[in-house]
């Protein structure tokens, strides 16, 4: 029998039992749509969290720590493929007291190499990278925390938890000269040595709202001078005066993983976004499998309908099947015709389910943020950029395979039954 004739044959039978087939397709559609929508929640939440991770930090960043008592071999790290920049920021364990006009700020100093910072793509909200020794970059919140004594007093008295910052430096800091002196954590007074720096850049707003960046970025050549001053002023030297942290920047996100692996092989402790994403992916892989499993149960329940419909179809057509066999239809052909019928139910059910799922997913992503937003209150409402439901093509493929596969499996037994029909008994049936 030609394939086209087989299709005609099957569709003729389906047309004859429109209502029954429709109800069966409906059940298959509901099962499959349930599976897709349920699993789409897993994909949606994963997507939201991935985005959060990727937005919140420099994604090409790899943090690397030496083992206890060891040092990083910077030249070896630099030789690793796709390493774009190695930024070593050294924090001085002392306060940096900055003074502009009548305003002051107690912050921290970070010694760094600006050439590497520039390569690492350090973003500035204003200004440029320093080129001279006495040029510095300050944190985004540096200006608003430059307070006069009066303002500081007012701040301290304010009881409100998150009161708006009072005062602060309103003008641009670019080109301003700041005079800075050191002060140890233990002492009350700043040391007498002061240096004048010119602010040439202001860093970008930190990704996380709760970070307040009032740091001063200073060229690393200052390290010895600062240490000397500190030791002159303090009777006992501090062995832990400087604390370095090293961040490596790869040329792009796709290389983070390979660089991370290579650094690990060197025996360093490494932390990068790829690590974080990997953990996230492992967790969500399990989560999604769980959801698909639960969804598959719905598909299995709907398959009972297919099984019933096909069994009915075979029983009803016993005589016709008998005649077909008598005039020369092979058992294989008869089995195929019935399998095609159940596959058709599965395919149409799946197609409808995919369409419905996309609609439900779209509606959920549109309506749920509003509902959740109004429950949380106006303010969060604005920031809520959550994906609740996401249907990637892989999910469509998985769900289709499960749904159509289950439809064909449940049509298998009735189809086998059809092939086993005894011609003589079938012909004996009354019309």
């Amino acid at each position: 029998m030609l394939f086209k004739d087989q299709v005609d044959f099957v569709s003729q039978h389906i047309k004859k039992n429109k209502l029954r087939v429709f109800m069966t397709i409906l059940a298959a559609t509901m099962g499959c749509a349930f599976l897709i929508v349920l699993a789409s929640i897993g994909f949606g939440i994963q997507d939201t969290m991935r985005k959060e991770i990727l937005e919140d930090q420099a994604i090409t960043e790899v943090e690397v720590y030496p083992n206890d008592g060891e040092e990083l071999d910077i030249s070896k790290i630099g030789a690793v493929e796709h390493v774009n920049a190695i930024v070593q920021r050294t924090r001085m364990e002392a306060m940096a007291v900055s003074q502009i006009e009548n305003r002051s700020l107690e912050g921290n100093m970070l010694l760094t190499n600006f050439a590497q910072e520039e390569k690492s793509n350090l973003k500035l909200s204003e200004g440029r990278m320093p080129t001279k020794d006495n040029e510095i970059v300050v944190g985004y919140q540096f200006a608003e925390n430059l307070l006069t004594d009066a303002e500081r007093k007012e701040m301290e008295q304010s009881t409100e938890e998150d009161a708006e910052p009072i005062g602060g430096y309103k003008e641009s800091l670019i080109g301003k000269t700041v005079s800075m002196s050191l002060q140890s954590y233990e002492s009350e007074e700043a040391f007498s040595e002061t240096w004048d720096f010119t602010i040439v850049g202001v860093t970008e707003k930190p990704a996380k709202d709760w970070i307040v960046d009032t740091n001063i970025l200073l060229d690393e050549s200052w390290k010895d001078k600062l240490q000397e001053v500190y030791e002159v002023n303090m009777e006992e030297g501090n062995t832990d005066l400087f604390f370095s942290s090293t961040k490596i920047y790869t040329s792009s996100l796709e290389h983070v993983k390979s660089v991370t692996e290579e650094l690990k092989e060197m025996g360093y402790s490494v932390y990068s976004v790829s690590e974080q994403l990997e953990q996230l992916d492992v967790f969500f892989m399990a989560f999604k499998i769980g959801l698909i499993f639960v969804g598959t149960i719905a598909v299995l329940i709907s398959s009972i309908g297919i099984f019933n419909t096909m069994t009915m179809a075979v029983t009803e057509r016993t005589r016709e099947i008998g005649v077909m066999k008598a005039i020369g239809a092979s058992p294989k052909l008869i089995q195929r015709l019935f399998l095609m019928e159940s596959a058709w139910i599965g395919i149409i059910g799946t197609i409808l389910a995919v369409i419905i799922s996309y609609a439900v997913s779209f509606l959920a992503n549109w309506i749920l943020p509003m509902v959740v937003g109004s429950a949380l209150g106006e303010e969060e409402f604005q920031d809520l950029s959550m994906t609740f439901s996401l249907i990637p093509w892989q999910l469509v493929v998985i769900a289709s395979i499960i749904s159509i596969g289950v439809a064909m499996i449940s049509g298998w037994r009735p189809a086998r039954k059809a092939t086993k029909i005894d011609v003589i008994q079938a012909l004996r049936q009354e019309l």
Binding site: K4, V323, A326, G328, S330, P331, I424, L427
Partner: protein, 232 residues
């Protein structure tokens, strides 16, 4: 064309555990020649249909061999038998056994579809044959819109459409009035003469058997002794 040799078959009748053995075919042997009309005559229950079922390959006899066109049917599996039937046999049943959901035309077309003949070729040969059996007017009718005689003509056309060398007819006029019966019998004779198709007709009706070149008489699963089977 057909050789039946020492065919025996026993049915088990009754409840499980208390079955009774009922021998239905008892050592039957005969031959059917190419191009002839053979009638197997006998009272109801004498085993005629069972004999036909074994020859057609709907069931296997317990004993004996059946050879059709040089092929021993016992050696074929289910699929091969189906194909063998499609290529060698046509069937005409007492109650026509047409597909209720198909028109007269589509019913006749069905065996060609099974053979994988293209739609265009099917159309021409079905049209031709329907004309030959006098049904061109009612080609688009469904079986329940046709008279008994017309339905039997459709079923004859369906049996003939693949040009099989052998046609089996089990009580072909059993559901028809005597006038229509005559029409059908004339058609069978005509087809036999013009197309050279071999007919094996099973009937309890002497009138029907009268068109046969040879008659075999069956009684209680045996061919009646002394009946040579040759033209009486």
């Amino acid at each position: 064309m057909i050789q039946v040799q020492n065919v025996n078959h026993t049915f088990l009748i009754g409840k499980k555990g208390k079955e009774k053995k009922v021998p239905v075919l008892k050592g039957l042997s005969f031959e059917v020649e190419k191009g002839e009309i053979v009638a197997i005559v006998g009272k109801s229950g004498s085993g005629k249909s069972t004999l036909l079922h074994t020859i057609a390959g709907f069931m296997s006899p317990e004993q004996g061999s059946i050879t059709v066109n040089g092929q021993e049917t016992a050696f074929l599996n289910e699929t091969e038998r189906a194909k063998f039937r499609l290529n060698n046999f046509g069937f005409i049943f007492q109650n026509f056994q047409l597909m209720p959901g198909l028109t007269a035309f589509e019913n006749v077309e069905l065996p060609l579809k099974l053979k994988g003949v293209s739609s265009k070729k099917r159309k021409t040969s079905v049209k031709q044959l329907l004309k030959k059996v006098g049904l061109e007017e009612v080609a688009d009718h469904y079986p329940n819109e046709l008279s008994g005689g017309q339905q039997q003509r459709v079923s004859i056309a369906r049996a003939l459409i693949t040009n099989p060398p052998i046609l089996f007819a089990d009580e072909p006029t059993g559901s028809l009035d005597s006038e229509t019966e005559q029409d059908i019998l004339l058609l069978i004779q005509d087809l036999n003469q013009t197309l050279g198709v071999t007919f094996v007709i099973i009937t309890h009706d002497e009138e029907v058997a009268s068109i046969a070149d040879r008659k075999f008489r069956m009684r209680d699963g045996e061919l009646v002794k002394g009946d040579t089977g040759y033209v009486i």
